[in-house]
């Protein structure tokens, strides 16, 4: 009797081990088919954009793109350590630093989406009528400090968080000063975008959100008491860039495929595909890799005019002529 049981347990254990080993072996063989690892922010993945565009690239190049969707900060850290081949992120300052320190090969603009200010649907502060994003923030600050409003911050070093800090800086508040705002109205959540919106719903608070997450939360009827209370300022555009990890720093990265991925994203086919993605009845991402698409977006923003001077790879024409991104035509492609 004892023997049977021990045999049974052994078979189960052995089954798990052998099954696991076999599956792992098969997986490794799988990886011999070309694949790259893309570290990206949760917004591109969770919105469904990548699931929409990546199959096209994977088919064309007969490869796998393994997506690791994390915060911008973590994505850049993964790149620094050489654990991924290419980044698609939206944290301009950190990106420039990433390229300047040699970890990233080059930074190429791909697309932007919009940040919006979200608040209680009755909008007691009428941020709706704000002159610009800074003005809206000023109203939230003024009311917040006297206990009339609340603001939930991501406070997680994400791209959204750094955008928020940029706006506070236009009002003269440094990062340290913002972090020292009274917790009675300025809530530093350390949470993802969706969770922050859920918090605002519960607290009748304002926040800065990317529009995709906001639309999605609205669509699922999770945040019925919230509204988009301010949008449209070009300061609220959220620029995404693609950065292949520097292969001179990390020899093992799949540089060829990473480069192909970058070229494809900024190609006409890639850009058109991004523009055609709609969700919740809205276009969520606006391609702006080339001057042509900039004109499609019909407004030239400071972010879009931003010149990438940190490019190090000499073989790319873009590296030699970094300003050509903003030309109304593309001399070399």
């Amino acid at each position: 009797m004892k023997g049977i049981w021990i045999a049974f347990a052994t078979v189960i254990a052995a089954g798990i081990v052998v099954g696991g080993t076999v599956s792992y072996a098969l997986m490794t063989r799988d990886e011999e088919v070309k694949s790259i690892r893309l570290a990206t922010t949760t917004s591109t993945y969770d919105s469904g954009l990548l699931d929409y565009i990546l199959p096209v690239f994977e088919d064309e190049h007969n490869c796998d793109v393994d997506v690791i969707a994390v915060g911008s900060g973590q994505a850049i850290e993964l790149g620094k350590n050489g654990d991924v081949d290419v980044l698609l992120v939206h944290s301009p300052a950190a990106e420039k630093d990433f390229v300047a320190t040699g970890y990233g090969e080059s930074r190429t603009l791909v697309m932007y989406n919009n940040f919006v200010i979200v608040g209680p649907s009755e909008d007691p502060l009428v941020t709706e009528n704000a002159k610009n994003a800074s003005d809206a923030f000023q109203r939230i600050y003024d009311n917040g400090t006297v206990g009339m409003a609340k603001f939930v911050s991501r406070a997680d070093n994400s791209g959204t968080h750094s955008k928020e800090l940029t706006i506070w800086s236009t009002l003269g508040y440094s990062k340290t000063q913002v972090a020292a705002f009274s917790s009675s109205w300025y809530i530093q959540s350390g949470q993802g975008m969706g969770a922050v919106l859920d918090m605002c719903e519960e607290l009748d608070a304002y926040t800065l959100s990317d529009d995709a997450t906001y639309y999605q939360r609205m669509d699922e009827n999770i945040i019925p008491h919230l509204n988009m209370t301010y949008s449209g300022d070009s300061a609220l555009f959220n620029q995404y860039s693609v950065i292949p990890v520097n292969s001179t720093m990390h020899k093992h990265v799949n540089h060829t495929l990473a480069l192909a991925f970058k070229e494809w994203l900024v190609s006409e086919a890639g850009q058109d595909l991004i523009a055609s993605y709609e969700k919740y009845g809205h276009q969520l991402f606006f391609p702006n890799a080339t001057p042509q698409t900039v004109s499609v977006a019909s407004s030239v923003t400071s972010e879009m005019m931003e010149v990438d001077r940190s490019v190090t790879r000499v073989s790319s024409p873009r590296a030699i002529f970094p300003w050509m991104d903003v030309l109304p035509f593309h001399p070399v492609r």
């Binding site: 004892k2 049981w5 189960i12 798990i16 076999v22 997986m27 969770d46 690791i68 654990d83 999770i222």
Partner: protein
């Protein structure tokens, strides 16, 4: 990754594989370690026990971070290239299982009555035979140790996300899938995945209970 063509099944099987392997490895290390600590007399035993119990509270994300730094390309074992694979997840989860299994094993073997230990010795058992007999007397506790270890890792998300990366079809397990669906606002789908996870856990626990309940005759 073996694909069954059914995404949910793939994710569930990977969860089982990662948690199962971590439990087996963690128990293979933790049970002998716990028996050693529990049955041997040595200086600083109290401190070792306290340390073991303290590690019950070892945060999963921290375990993930340690394993990340170990296997990151920039880390000492980066050349193995196992980051963002189930293997890395198993290693991180194993670290979480070891203290639990060790601690519960210590308690279980210590709680075997002194009179049993004396009797076994008086009947003429050698030290190693004594240990095996005491372990068998502690059987219920040892299986319990495996259960709790498995329970911790099947429900764990921090380490799994950090070193696994939640890659679709490669390293996505039930918990990271639940986290993703929650983040995407698909609360109902996330709840359904939670029910799948609990059902899987139920099956494993039923098997372990059966193993525990039976009298070792």
């Amino acid at each position: 990754m073996v694909s069954t063509g059914n995404e949910l099944l793939d994710v569930t099987l990977l969860s089982l594989y990662v948690s199962g392997m971590a439990t087996i490895l963690g128990s293979a290390i933790g049970i002998p370690l716990g028996a050693l600590i529990g049955l041997k007399e040595f200086g600083g035993k109290g401190a070792v026990k306290t340390l073991t119990y303290t590690l019950y509270g070892f945060p999963p994300v921290l375990s993930g971070l340690v394993v990340y730094y170990m296997f990151s390309r920039a880390g000492p074992l980066g050349d193995l290239g196992i980051l963002f694979t189930p293997t890395a997840m198993i290693i991180a989860e194993t670290f979480l299982v070891i203290p639990l299994v060790t601690g519960i094993t210590i308690t279980s073997v210590v709680e075997v009555d002194r009179s049993i230990k004396d009797t076994v010795k008086a009947l003429g058992a050698s030290p190693s035979q004594s240990i095996i007999t005491v372990m068998r007397e502690a059987w219920v506790g040892l299986v319990m140790a495996c259960m709790i270890g498995f329970g911790r890792v099947i429900a764990e998300v921090g380490a799994a996300y950090l070193v696994g990366g939640n890659i679709d079809g490669e390293t996505r397990v039930l918990t990271t899938a639940i986290m993703l669906e929650t983040r995407m606002g698909h609360f109902e789908w996330a709840m359904s995945l939670g029910i799948v996870l609990l059902s899987v856990a139920l099956m494993v626990f039923l098997f372990l209970r059966l193993l525990q309940e039976r009298e070792m005759l």
